[in-house]
């Protein structure tokens, strides 16, 4: 990214760290993208989803996982197109069903790292039932929800995370529904690792995703992003760079948030970034796997007895 590009978008050079010229060529991101897939991506220029894709690749890379042992399962929507570009086992399913497909896959292959990639509408509206039950089972799946508060692919309809009062093509007079707090929902449903950051902080996302993938049970990472093409345009929030800056200005780290006095915490409207929840609880395929093993051995023993 050159200084010229930053200046076009009215971004002060000091706001971002300018990478070295050879950064891209030497990056893990490039090496784990598919060689035979045509680029560019389907995402609009300036979209935050690409930032999350980079983070996910770096997180997997940092764990030294073999790409063959990683499966990316996605539903439908802008975010759900992510796996097609990435050099892993990739399953692009039906709208809302990523976690249900992922559940079958994880049961068949408990040794694999299964990551479900969803947008907010995909995960929480049409897929809401699968989301809470996957969390309840604590099945070893990492749910990555890119939350841009809108249905982007269909052109900007309000989603379960659109804030009240904001406009969408199906909420032309302002949204009257309260949004789902994604992380709170996952915690309440039984997730054992829950973290949140924004696309302004990709290095945080790298770290949280790596922790989430390392967690044996059900993990959720909420990556707060934006959609300048639909949500931003309808709500007059400016360009991609403007919305990125809003993300920067409107978030607070968990340690900083925790230091606030109770009144200030209650009044906080900023996005709280950090690891929000960790719980030690046995993972589903481990528990069921050992049950199956026990029954299977018992049966083999019985059969052998019968033969003698």
């Amino acid at each position: 990214m050159s200084e010229h590009i930053l200046s076009v978008h009215d971004v002060d050079v000091s706001e971002g760290q300018i990478p070295r010229e050879d950064w891209f060529e030497s990056s893990a991101t490039l090496h784990n993208l598919r060689k035979n897939k045509k680029f560019p991506t389907i995402w609009c220029a300036g979209c935050g989803i690409g930032v999350v894709m980079g983070s996910l690749i770096r997180a997997i890379e940092s764990l030294n996982l073999n790409n063959d042992q990683v499966a990316l399962v996605a539903g439908i929507g802008c975010t759900a197109r992510m796996p097609v570009y990435m050099d892993y086992n990739t399953l692009h399913t039906t709208h809302g069903r990523a976690l249900a497909f992922a559940t079958g896959l994880k049961i068949a292959r408990p040794d694999m790292k299964v990551i479900a990639i969803m947008g907010d509408g995909d995960a929480l509206a049409i897929g809401g039932n699968h989301f809470i039950h996957a969390a309840r089972r604590n099945i070893g799946i990492t749910a990555l929800v890119v939350n841009n508060s809108i249905y982007g692919m269909t052109g900007g309809q309000y989603s379960p995370t659109t804030p009240e009062g904001m406009r969408a093509t199906t909420a032309p007079y302002g949204n009257v529904e309260p949004p789902f707090p994604v992380c709170d929902l996952a915690i309440a449903a039984g997730a054992t690792f829950v973290a949140r950051s924004t696309v302004y902080y990709p290095l945080e996302l790298d770290k949280y995703l790596a922790q989430a993938i390392s967690n044996e049970g059900f993990s959720l990472v909420e990556a707060v992003s934006y959609c300048h093409t639909t949500y931003g345009r309808i709500n007059k929030l400016g360009s991609a760079a403007d919305m990125m800056r809003q993300l920067k200005d409107n978030s607070v780290s968990k340690p900083a948030f925790d230091k606030l006095d109770p009144d200030a915490r209650a009044a906080n409207t900023k996005i709280v970034r950090g690891v929000l929840h960790i719980k030690d609880r046995p993972e589903y395929t481990k528990i069921y796997g050992s049950l199956v093993e026990r029954k299977h051995e018992e049966e083999l023993r019985l059969r052998n007895v019968g033969r003698h």
């Binding site: 035979n36 897939k37 045509k38 790409n67 063959d68 042992q69 499966a71 399962v73 796996p83 097609v84 050099d87 892993y88 086992n89 990739t90 399953l91 692009h92 399913t93 039906t94 069903r97 249900a100 497909f101 992922a102 559940t103 079958g104 896959l105 994880k106 049961i107 068949a108 292959r109 040794d111 694999m112 039932n129 699968h130 039950h133 069921y288 049950l291 199956v292 093993e293 029954k295 299977h296 018992e298 049966e299």
Partner: protein, 370 residues
């Protein structure tokens, strides 16, 4: 080999295990629940896995996920659940994922009569999911055949990379009959193999035969599976020169196959009357034919085990032999539409009952007289 008294639903579960099914995902629903109960009990004994999902949409999704992970997979349901599964049955057809879906049909529409039998989902089996697609649907007439056709369903599904529907009904599902179970090790099982090197692997290739090799995830073949129209390696495409060959291939792989169409014929020389049926109604048909023959009448009997694709050539031959084909069904006339398409409307006499009760032999005898 042992002879046991067994329910149709139990025989289906045992057939699945005999065929090598090692993953079941389902949701409780009358009158199919026994399949899930038996699977939850029996699968762990053979090292297989069972899960009760949050609904039938999720069940069908998990079944596909399980097969992508390398386990032969099945689910069982009834009307309302079958409606919910349509979404991902279409996905399995599009992505060519083998799987078996059992529908123990009950009276519909909607919640209907959960404990009453029906054959009301015959057309839904063919056209229930949106868009043109290929499908195989089998329908057993007895407990023993429920076992046999479940094995067959798995083998066809694996061989042709296609979802196979076992369209049974509450009568066969809950009826108990003696059945002689074979040693499961001796049951023929179709196993998919991939011989291509990972770098040459194309999951949806259109050359070298009509059924491309299917690699399971986590075996070194990193590839993309999608419900979008896709090219030979699985990437989404809008190019007609990539879509058309796929459409032609998946149609051809089912149409050209010579082992999908299963039916039994019992013809009499010179008979001008025929009864054609399937599932529980075929039991009534068999009985009515016996009664007519006892009175000295000549009647042909055609029992279809494969209802989709419709065995049109065999029915065409039957139509050439006969003046009238009676089609008894527990619905308002669904497979009869296919018989009419092949034999002509004038030759077909529909015998329908859609109130949850079986067609009676008298209804068929009456239709024969008119």
């Amino acid at each position: 080999m042992t002879i046991q008294l067994m329910q149709g639903n139990e025989a289906i579960a045992m057939g699945a295990i005999a065929a090598g099914c090692r993953f079941y995902a389902g949701y409780p629903i009358t009158p199919s629940t026994e399949v899930a109960e038996v699977m939850s009990r029996e699968l762990p004994k053979v090292g297989g896995k069972f899960i009760q999902m949050e609904d039938e949409i999720a069940s069908m999704a998990a079944v596909i996920g399980g097969r992508v992970g390398g386990l032969k997979s099945m689910t069982a349901t009834s009307g309302p659940g079958f409606s919910l599964m349509q979404e991902n049955i279409g996905y399995a057809a599009m992505a060519e994922i083998p799987c078996v879906v059992v529908n123990v049909q009950r009276l519909g529409p909607s919640t209907g009569q959960p404990t009453a039998a029906s054959q009301g989902d015959v057309m839904q089996a063919r056209w229930g999911t949106h868009g043109d697609h290929q499908i195989i649907a089998l329908s057993p007439i007895s407990v023993a055949q429920a076992f046999e056709l479940t094995v067959k369903a798995f083998n066809l599904s694996e061989k042709y990379r296609i979802p196979v529907l076992l369209m049974t009904d509450e009568i066969i599902g809950h009826m108990r009959e003696p059945i002689e179970l074979p040693d499961f090790d001796t049951v023929d099982k179709f196993e998919r193999v991939v011989t291509d090197a990972p770098e040459e692997y194309k999951a949806f290739r259109n050359d070298r035969g009509d059924v491309p090799p299917m690699a399971s995830f986590g075996r070194g073949y990193r590839y993309h599976i999608t419900g979008l129209f896709h090219d030979e390696v699985g990437f989404p495409t809008q190019r007609l020169d990539e879509i058309d060959p796929w459409l032609e291939r998946v149609k051809r792989k089912i149409e050209k196959a010579d082992d999908i169409l299963l039916y039994q014929t019992d013809y009499q020389e010179g008979a001008r009357l025929a009864v054609l049926s399937y599932g529980a109604s075929a039991r009534t048909a068999r009985h009515a034919v016996k009664q007519m023959r006892a009175k000295g009448e000549k009647v042909n009997l055609f029992i279809a085990q494969t209802i989709w694709p419709f065995p049109e050539k065999a029915v065409e031959e039957l139509a050439d032999l006969t003046d009238k084909i009676i089609v008894p069904e527990m619905n308002l006339g669904q497979l009869a539409l296919e018989v009419e398409r092949v034999a002509g409307r004038k030759k077909v006499a529909r015998v329908n009952r859609a109130n949850g009760e079986m067609v009676t032999p008298d209804m068929i005898l009456k239709a024969a007289e008119v």
